[in-house]
C-alpha cells in the first residue's frame, strides 16, 4: 500500500534479502516481471494519492525506474472517465512479446501493442451493454483478472468486481457474460446473468479450458472456458476469500486462503491456513506447517498470493497486517520472510538469472 519491496533468494529460497521501498508512499496494486523476448523487465502500477496512477518499468531490477510509460493508461478526454487505480498488469502471449494488458478501475481493459509505450481501452468492453449496471465492490469497480488462451489469440477472459466473468472469442471485439452457476449472495436473484462479485480466476496454460474461481461466497471450477461453473467448495472452512493461485506445473493444483465471511474478512478460527486442492477441487487440504495457528486474524487480498516456477514450487502470500510468508516445497512448510511491511495488496514471483 505504500511502495514496492523486492525480495531475492536463490533456488533454496532459505535466505532472503529485501530491497525497498520503491515508490515510497505510493500504492502499488499490480506488478509484473516480464521475461519474454529475452528481456528482464519489471513493471509496477504505482498510484500516488496526489499525482494519480501510472505504469513504470525497470530493466535493472529496480535500480532505476521509468517515470511513466508513454502517456500511460488513460481514458480518452471525452469519455467522462478517469483511471482511479490500475489493478492488474498481465503479459500478452509468449509469441506476442510486445503485448501487455492492464485491468483498471473504473472497470476497463487496456491493451498495449508496443511494450507499454502506448495504451488503448478495449472498446468492446467499454461500450458493453451491461457496463452501466456494473457496481463497485468493496475495493472499487475494478477489472482485476485477465486470463488469456495461450493457443487461441482470439480468446480472452476477464473478471470484474462486481460484474462477473466476461469472455471474448473474437479478439476482444465482443464480450459475453460467463457466470452460469456462480452465485450472487447480495442480489435478490442469486444467479443473474452478470453482477457477481468474482474475486479471482486462475488456470494453467497446459489446460486452459479448466478454470478455477474464487467468488464473493463461492468456490467454482469450469471445464469449458467459463460456459458453466460448478461448486467445488469441498472441505474448506469458508467459501469466502479473495486470493487464488494455480500451481506452476499442475493444472489441477490450486491454492486459496479462505476468510471467515464478508462481514469479518479474517482467517477462520484465527488460524492462518492456505488450502490446496490437488484434484481440481474434489477435496481441499489445509497447509499450516510454519503458519501461526492462534490469534491470527489475517486477511490475504486477491493479488497477494503467488507461485514461482521452480520444480519444487515456491508459494508466497502477503497479509494486510504486513507479513510475507513463503514455501519452497509446494506449500507443505512455510516460513515468515518479512514482518512489519505496510499492508500487502500484491505479491508476484519470478525466476530470473542472478542480477
Amino acid at each position: 500500500m505504500k511502495g514496492a519491496f523486492l525480495f531475492r533468494a536463490d533456488e533454496s529460497r532459505k535466505k532472503w534479502t529485501m530491497d525497498g521501498p520503491h515508490f515510497r508512499g505510493e500504492a502499488v496494486y499490480a506488478m509484473l516481471h516480464d521475461t519474454r523476448a529475452g528481456r528482464s523487465r519489471t513493471y509496477a502500477a504505482t498510484n500516488s494519492m496526489h499525482w494519480g496512477p501510472t505504469v513504470r518499468s525497470s530493466d535493472d531490477y529496480g535500480k532505476t525506474w521509468s517515470s511513466g510509460e508513454g502517456r500511460s493508461v488513460r481514458f480518452s478526454s471525452d469519455s467522462g472517465k478517469a483511471v482511479a487505480q490500475i489493478w492488474q498488469i498481465a503479459p500478452g502471449r509468449a509469441d506476442e512479446p510486445e503485448a501487455l494488458y492492464c485491468g483498471v478501475e473504473p472497470a476497463a481493459l487496456f491493451e498495449s501493442r508496443d511494450g507499454g509505450q502506448s495504451w488503448a481501452p478495449n472498446e468492446g468492453l467499454l461500450t458493453h451493454e451491461h457496463q452501466p449496471k456494473w457496481q463497485p465492490g468493496g475495493g472499487g469497480l475494478c477489472l482485476h483478472t485477465i486470463v488469456l488462451d495461450p493457443a487461441d489469440r482470439n480468446r480472452i477472459l476477464i473478471a470484474i468486481s462486481t460484474g462477473g466473468v466476461y469472455r471474448s472469442d473474437d479478439g476482444g471485439k465482443t464480450w459475453r457474460a460467463r457466470n452460469t452457476g456462480v452465485r450472487a449472495e447480495f442480489l435478490p436473484d442469486k444467479h443473474p446473468e452478470f453482477g457477481q462479485c468474482v474475486h479471482k480466476v486462475v488456470h494453467h496454460p497446459s489446460r486452459p479450458e479448466r478454470l478455477f474461481l474464487q467468488n464473493h461466497w463461492g468456490l467454482y471450477r469450469s471445464d469449458d472456458w467459463g460456459d458453466s461453473w460448478h461448486d467445488v467448495a469441498n472441505g474448506v472452512p469458508s467459501d469466502f476469500g479473495f486470493a487464488m493461485e494455480i500451481h506452476p506445473h499442475d493444472p489441477d493444483t490450486v491454492y486459496i486462503v479462505p476468510l471467515e465471511s464478508d462481514q469479518f474478512r479474517c482467517t477462520p478460527e484465527a488460524k492462518l491456513r492456505v488450502y490446496r486442492t490437488r484434484n481440481a477441487g474434489v477435496s481441499w487440504e489445509p497447509l499450516e506447517k510454519g503458519l501461526p495457528q492462534s490469534n491470527a486474524y489475517e486477511t490475504v487480498l486477491r493479488d497477494a498470493l503467488a507461485a514461482d516456477t521452480f520444480e519444487s514450487a515456491g508459494i508466497y502470500f502477503g497479509t494486510r497486517s504486513g507479513k510475507l510468508f513463503g514455501s519452497a516445497d509446494d506449500g507443505a512448510t512455510w516460513t515468515e520472510i518479512a514482518d512489519g511491511l505496510p499492508p500487502v495488496v500484491c505479491v508476484k514471483a519470478s525466476v530470473t538469472a542472478a542480477p
Binding site: 505504500k2 494519492m49 499525482w51 511513466g68 478526454s77 469519455s79 483511471v83
Partner: protein
Amino acid sequence: MITIELPKALCSYAEAESLVRLDEKCTTVGEALDALGKRSPRALDRIMDERGSVRRHVNVFVNGESIRFLEGLSTPAPAGSTILVLAAVSGG
C-alpha cells in the same frame, strides 16, 4: 509572461522543470495549464485527470489564492502571474 511553479515530487514523475515560464498568451489558469501540457504532457497528466479536472489531492494557486475558491480553471491569470501547483494535505 506567466510563471508556473511545480513541486519537486511532480518533476521527478514528469521529467519537467520546476519553474516553467510561459511566453504564450494565456488569460486563464486553464489556458496556462494547457500551455504547460504542450511542453510537458506528462506533467499535466499528473496535475489533471483525463476528464480535465484538477486531481482531488492537488491544489492550484494563482498569486497565492486557491482556484478552488475562485473560478476554477477559468480563474483569470493576468500577465505576470505566478501559478503554484502543490500537493494537498494528504499522503500515503
